[in-house]
Assembly symmetry: C3
Homo-oligomer: 263 residues x 3
């Protein structure tokens, strides 16, 4: 383990939630040398799919020995398992409810353990707050060098979520908006790979609701302010943006609105 | 002192406020080895009682040598004192306006000092920002090992807030909602201790406004989605929740709404 | 370089944005010993002027070897330069779009470099996210001791924004609201220096929209609750506040509303 191991936190507790501070207190009480990094605490409450997307987008960028704790846990207190999962690019601790299913598409886990050994939990475990009473202390013990095999038996199968991908038929791709960022840019589930043989000129039309733009650009700022533009965003997914304005508000669309590329 | 002492910050400056960044800059300029942890900056402006509740809920979970700086300070610039207070579970620096009164119910302070020694303040002290100009530099000096007795004379009495507790008469407990978390769960001032001899079955009714539920459960997820349930939450207080939804919005209630338990 | 160099982040990505987490992951992958500090991520999207004000208000308080990365970048992907700029009080990495123009009023930069050397960028640079793919890795390399001269050629001129200052003519200062803090206090562009020869008694009137108050006080709390008061705030600028309430809401004013001081 490095001198100051990294633990990241991803939750749906809300920004500035004291629940997050409680988890940090528990971690630092066990290992005061941990370096804590917030991924986000603004996951829409109980939206496991949104959590899975954000974990996939951010956590592989961290050092490979970082421990990523994710608490989006609508089933807290039921018999859903808590799992430790090791990938080549990082270590994860979270409920087994699909939070890792986007990451698990990239590669097979190197190790999976069902977390059951109570000696690494807090003395009293509140049935509504496993983030503070189970995941935080277990992550802290792992950061001190605990062998994950000590946490419980091997875990067999990771829960998968169903992902609705975009469809490509002849000269048409049908997808939808899957996220809206803080600029109001509309991120779709249409990937760079699907667009590989699509022309990037005036012959391609991108439609969202009853709005249309032509051409796929490489950056927002090539077009005049207030223009609707399509670009391949920083996560290799097609995005729609209004130059210098908020596309979500201007277009009146939202997550789930269909997006079509036709050429 | 540890190699990298911990200073936590709790304020009503608002999430992402540059005032918080200013305090961090001042602290790190004096001691670049401090490990900063945000408790929350989303205390409702000038709500000392809310700050007192959050300090009590979170800070005792931290290492006992952590220094907790709390700035909810409607009286900034008046003659209210700034105090250094040491408890068995942690060290605090804040205005003496009741912020510590919830913590002080648990145990007597080990040491209390009125912070007056200006040589540990910033050179210029703005009368509207003692967080940046007094508490931040004093906390940084303490983190370097400064003896708290150097900060000023012993402090006599800590200001107390009046807490409205729940009442228990015969087979009825009358309390109220005291907080709403980011999930919309309603936290009451009815404690686990008060519920010790209350049955946990269909003979107990929990009422909030004109809504009623029966039975006290141990976790939210035991009941079907959209059911109103009562549970004892992670802070040993009775909570009302709507399974997989937001009870505050669904019930149209708020902090201060009466809650009754009858059996 | 210190053992644990400080990198601060200032962006318009929104609080809790996963884009911020992506930048942190990239930085820590290159230098896991960096100490990350968030200044704010709540700059109004693409408001360079607001970013410039906050950088000037907060970053000079940090240790002088801190590296401040600022990403408010409406021109991302165009030919606007990315610059490394060194002042006596700190080191900056940002697009050359005016973000440093408030700081540059205080002193001449010690060194300016146009950041062009791609070997310090991420392997793939997304044209819409230079924060993650250019500024984050370059900052991390600087924190490891990289000589800034290695980043590219010397930079000639820093882009300046036009600042509208307040005007002083005879016994009248005409300014405007330039910021509103989380308490609803109205920060103006009327500075302490301009007020040096203004009386602080009942003969001075401060007007904002159709509201008027008299006298300039040193702190909010000297007056009764709900009074409109004028004070010189913690950044040496005249502020208007409602004691224990929110002046922005109560007065129905906003950034840009004229403020006059007459005596």
């Amino acid at each position: 383990m490095p001198n100051q191991p990294i633990i990241t936190l991803t939750t749906d507790f809300g920004p500035s939630s004291p629940y997050v501070a409680a988890m940090k207190g528990v971690i630092l009480s066990i290992n005061p040398d941990v370096r804590l990094v917030d991924i986000t605490h603004a996951i829409t409450p109980q939206q496991v799919q949104e959590g899975a997307l954000i974990l996939a987008e951010t956590t592989p960028l961290f050092p490979t020995d970082a421990i990523h704790v994710a608490v989006v846990d609508p089933g807290v207190g039921t018999d859903r398992a808590i799992v430790y999962v090791e990938f080549a690019w990082g270590r994860y601790l979270c409920p087994d409810n699909g939070l890792l299913s986007r990451l698990a598409e990239r590669a097979k886990p190197l190790m999976m353990v069902t977390v059951t050994r109570e000696r690494f939990f807090r003395e009293q475990v509140a049935p509504t707050f496993h983030g503070r009473d189970v995941m935080a202390p277990v992550a802290a013990h792992l950061s001190l060098g605990l062998d994950p095999a000590e946490l419980g038996p091997l875990h067999k199968t990771l829960k998968q979520l169903d992902w609705r991908g975009a469809d490509k038929v002849a000269n048409r791709i049908s997808g939808e908006i899957v996220a809206v960022d803080s600029f109001g840019n509309l991120v779709t589930n249409i990937t760079r790979a699907m667009l590989a043989d699509v022309p990037t000129d005036e012959t391609v039309a991108i439609r969202c609701d009853d709005h249309e733009t032509r051409n796929i650009f490489t950056t927002y700022a090539e077009q005049p302010p207030l223009t609707l533009v399509a670009v391949i965003g920083s996560n290799d997914q097609l995005e729609l943006a209004i130059v210098n304005d908020n596309a979500k508000i201007m277009l009146g669309v939202e997550v789930g609105t269909p997006v079509e590329v036709v050429w």
